[in-house]
């Protein structure tokens, strides 16, 4: 085959190329890597990274459904129907509305489903897709990924939550001196509730919500809160990944542009 003249605009190139190649590997524009391997999605990579870190700390990975009932997504998590806290989660409801089925707004329902079927001690993470009915822009999308963590045992405390979260964040960002900050916050299914920030390029950036499992939640799954305690956290995988890799628009994760995917 003949290469096109320098200066000519490409429309169609005659191939097969490389028929006569005697050196090097076959050419690729980067759909694949130079050695012919493909690419795993950056969020898969992030999830894998997270799972590997938590696995060392004794956490097993479990899943849960994306379509949930109002009970698991809200009520069992101490978010009752007429409570203003419901406003913190903009929800996609499924037809018919009377069936009260929804797209899970967080991975927290997995806490309830798991505790219903597994006696403590429990140490799990649950990564997965979640949904919020909100306007889409560079930092918000109607679908994104969370990673839920749950520990239930005797005498679990806030200091351990801090320890686990800090350890995870340091390893995830591969920065031994990553600064973290824990601030008071409110989620009905934990008490106390905190928000966790990391210091990234001289600014604190919020990366997750967490807290000690609310006694009402434990009680609801038949665990005595005077015997068992636990902590839970929910981190935004998209957000952590955007920070780690400098991605400036969450929508790149979902629009399948090869020019984005092939970078990782």
């Amino acid at each position: 085959m003949k290469p096109r003249r320098a200066g000519q605009i490409s429309s169609v190139v005659e191939l097969p190329f490389c028929k006569r190649a005697v050196v090097g590997s076959s050419p690729t524009s980067g759909f694949m890597k130079q050695d012919g391997r493909g690419h795993l999605h950056l969020l898969t990579q992030a999830e894998r990274r997270a799972r590997a870190i938590f696995q060392q700390l004794g956490f097993a990975t479990v899943g849960g459904p994306e379509v949930e009932t109002e009970y698991y997504n809200f009520d069992a998590l101490n978010i009752s129907a007429d409570h203003p806290a419901r406003d913190l989660w903009d929800t996609f409801w499924l037809e018919p509305r009377s069936a009260s089925r929804l797209l899970r707004t967080h991975t927290s329902p997995v806490q309830i489903r798991y505790l219903e079927n597994h006696p403590p001690p429990v140490r799990i993470i649950a990564p997965g897709r979640v949904f919020r009915y909100e306007a889409t822009d560079a930092t918000h999308n109607y679908q994104f990924h969370q990673l839920e963590g749950l520990v239930v045992d005797r005498q679990i405390n806030l200091a351990q939550l801090k320890g686990v979260v800090e350890e995870f964040l340091r390893q995830f960002f591969n920065l031994a001196d990553l600064a973290t900050r824990f601030r008071p916050s409110y989620f009905p299914f934990v008490e106390p509730g905190v928000e966790v920030d990391i210091l990234w390029r001289d600014k604190f950036v919020e990366v997750m919500g967490a807290g000690l499992v609310h006694p009402t939640v434990l009680d609801g799954v038949g665990l005595d809160p005077e015997v068992w305690s636990g902590f839970a956290f929910g981190l935004g995988l998209d957000r952590l990944t955007m920070i780690r890799h400098g991605v400036d628009d969450v929508r790149y994760f979902y629009d399948g542009h090869i020019g984005f995917l092939q970078q990782f």
């Binding site: 290469p3 980067g30 990975t61 897709r129 008071p184 400036d248 542009h257 990782f264």
Partner: protein, 611 residues
């Protein structure tokens, strides 16, 4: 809610730290406050901290400052002005206070009130309206003032009757129904209780005799009505968060005081106060050691007591048990774990020394589906497939959303194939070489029927041939289906059986790469071919091209053709030019290519081939 720094300062004699530091302290110990004073008050604190008094109490506790004792409002009541009577016909009214004030006229809003309203984003309406708004921002208790001259007969609090409607302040007319709580007179509705006043008895410049009302309503009723009527007002926000009925009394005193100051020759009448079930203080028994155990701290009993007392909680030792009496405004403190949070946040979460979990979890077993998805992903990536994440919401499917986020996103996806084919089609023109292999896959949840949720795997490419090898490895029997010029196979993930388990090759696929912006502008592709002496490293040639092609070279050079002729070797490279700012012109790219040609030709024994 927007906070006013000066307003907060007015509660203290000692100077507060600069705004930046004050708001940072609140963020670290109470709730998030941005640099401009915007406080993110979540539902747990909306009953007390949607007010400057509430936030000042937090400031006092966080910074250990003493608040100025509030001066008791002083005014004389006119014994000749009887208390208005309000007929209460529903249990949804937890407290109703009312008082008449008369004056020959009412003055303008005092400057200090106007100033404070302005800094918290309020706007001036009239003296009487402004002071009632002011009381809400100061104390967190919504209040409402009626023009007594417009009220016909008996005032009452009741639920609306089907078919009733009301013209609101601002002119909007809303239809009411049987569970809307209203304030009414004998002529009909006057006010959507706790949410928005009506136009009929609104205070105007001509008003002389006023009815001041301060009430408390059932939070669920308020929330439902506010949402149904789409009246998410400041007042509704406070009531729906279960404001304490005890807060009404100080607000009535303050409101009376401020209205009297506005009025010329003003007189205030006796008080009507319907409060059938006065709320009792919440008492919580607690064990200080349990608080320490939950936090992982070692605070002494004295420190724990002192922190709780700084919030207005009364702490006492009853025999061997500790008891906390919660102040009426703290509606969020109900169980001892709530007290633990107060101790923890006031002490500062940064003061809690991190601990490890006990090392008693040796075996970790992940769910089989997690392991399987991982192996399938690795296998596909090793075979050159690129993983995509598609949209769960599509224009077609079996399960419909009540509230779609956009046109074309009304259904949950029933398969992965449709999305994957679209992604193949949009990416196909992005290839650099014509017969380049574009192989994509997705693992994701689909909803094929109303009550069905499954995890599927779909993989696709331009030709069926490109799928064959990996289908064998994955032991997938299904044949690729052809659609829109691509071939796709979709199966239930758990049906995939790996013929040879993928080795754990994760490290090869984990990158630390930083994202490079993807240009939305079209690209221009050019080739260059040259003769070099046999033995010349093609990578060196590529480097040389890259070094002189300029910043518009975004991809390549890709070596795509090599052959030998005598002592010479022909190399052909493809270069892709693209700008992040604009559509490139041929002339720009021609200049870059001339630089490439010149640089190559100036290298000894290199000859760019002309065609």
């Amino acid at each position: 809610m927007k906070l006013s720094y000066d307003w907060l300062q007015s509660y203290f004699t000692s100077p507060l730290p600069p705004a930046k530091d004050l708001f940072a302290s609140l963020s670290n110990h109470s709730f998030e406050v941005e640099l401009d004073g915007e406080a993110k008050i979540l539902p747990d604190r909306s009953a007390d901290c949607l007010s400057h008094l509430g936030v000042a109490r937090e400031v006092a506790a966080v910074l250990g400052l003493e608040m100025v004792a509030a001066a008791e409002p002083v005014f004389k009541l006119d014994p000749g002005l009887a208390a208005p009577t309000v007929k209460i016909e529903t249990l949804l009214a937890r407290r109703v206070m009312a008082r008449q004030v008369t004056a020959s006229s009412y003055g303008m809003t005092p400057d200090w009130i106007a100033q404070r309203l302005l800094t918290v984003g309020g706007h001036r309406v009239s003296g009487v309206v402004d002071v009632s708004n002011y009381v809400m921002f100061e104390l967190g208790q919504p209040v409402h003032i009626f023009d007594a001259g417009q009220i016909q007969g008996q005032m009452m609090v009741r639920v609306a009757r089907v078919g009733e409607s009301i013209e609101l302040l601002g002119g909007r007319v809303v239809k009411l129904d049987a569970d809307v709580l209203i304030i009414a007179d004998e002529a009909g509705p006057l006010d959507v209780a706790g949410i928005r006043g009506g136009a009929r008895a609104a205070v105007t410049g001509a008003s002389r005799s006023l009815i001041l009302t301060v009430c408390n309503f059932d939070p669920v009723s308020i929330r439902r009505t506010a949402r149904r009527l789409d009246l998410l007002t400041d007042a509704a926000k406070r009531f729906e968060n279960n404001l304490s009925p005890a807060a009404a009394a100080p607000a009535m005193l303050r409101l009376t005081e401020l209205v009297l100051e506005l009025g010329r020759g003003a007189r205030a009448g006796q008080l009507f106060d319907f409060y059938p079930n006065p709320e009792l203080s919440v008492k919580i028994n607690f064990v200080p050691q349990a608080i320490n155990q939950l936090l992982g701290t070692n605070y002494t009993n004295e420190v724990i007591s002192q922190k709780l007392q700084s919030l207005g909680v009364e702490v006492s030792l009853l025999g061997t048990s500790w008891q906390a009496v919660v102040p009426v405004w703290r509606r969020d403190l109900k169980i001892w774990q709530d007290l633990a949070e107060e101790v923890g946040r006031l002490g500062g979460y940064d003061q809690i020394v991190s601990q490890s979990l006990p090392d008693n979890f040796s075996s970790v077993s992940n769910e089989p589906q997690v392991v399987q998805a991982e192996q399938v992903r690795l296998t596909l990536a090793q075979h050159g497939f690129v993983e995509v994440y598609g949209s769960s919401l599509r224009a077609n499917g079996e399960v419909k959303l009540v509230n779609a986020p956009a046109v074309g996103r009304e259904f949950l996806r029933s398969n992965l194939t449709d999305g994957l084919i679209e992604t193949l089609a949009t990416n196909w023109p992005r290839r650099i070489f014509d017969h380049e292999s574009l192989k994509l896959f997705e693992i994701g949840t689909v909803f094929p029927a109303s009550n069905e949720e499954k995890v599927h795997l779909a993989l696709g490419a331009r030709t069926a041939k490109e799928l064959v090898d990996v289908l064998t490895v994955l032991d997938i029997k299904a044949s690729p289906i052809s659609k829109n010029g691509f071939f796709v196979v979709e199966v239930v993930l758990t049906d995939v059986k790996l013929l040879s388990a993928a080795i754990d090759s994760w490290p090869e696929f984990l990158t630390d790469n930083q994202y490079q912006p993807v240009s939305p502008y079209p690209r221009i592709v050019r080739d260059v071919s040259l003769f070099v002496p046999i033995g010349t490293d093609s990578a060196t040639v590529a480097e040389k091209i890259k070094a002189v092609a300029g910043p518009l070279l975004t991809l390549g050079p890709f070596l795509f053709d090599v052959f030998d002729r005598g002592e010479q070797r022909s190399l052909a490279f493809r270069l892709v030019f693209q700008s992040h700012e604009r559509t490139l012109t041929d002339a720009e790219v021609n200049r870059a290519m001339s630089d490439v040609t010149a640089a190559l030709n100036s290298t000894p024994n290199f000859h760019v081939r002309e065609s």
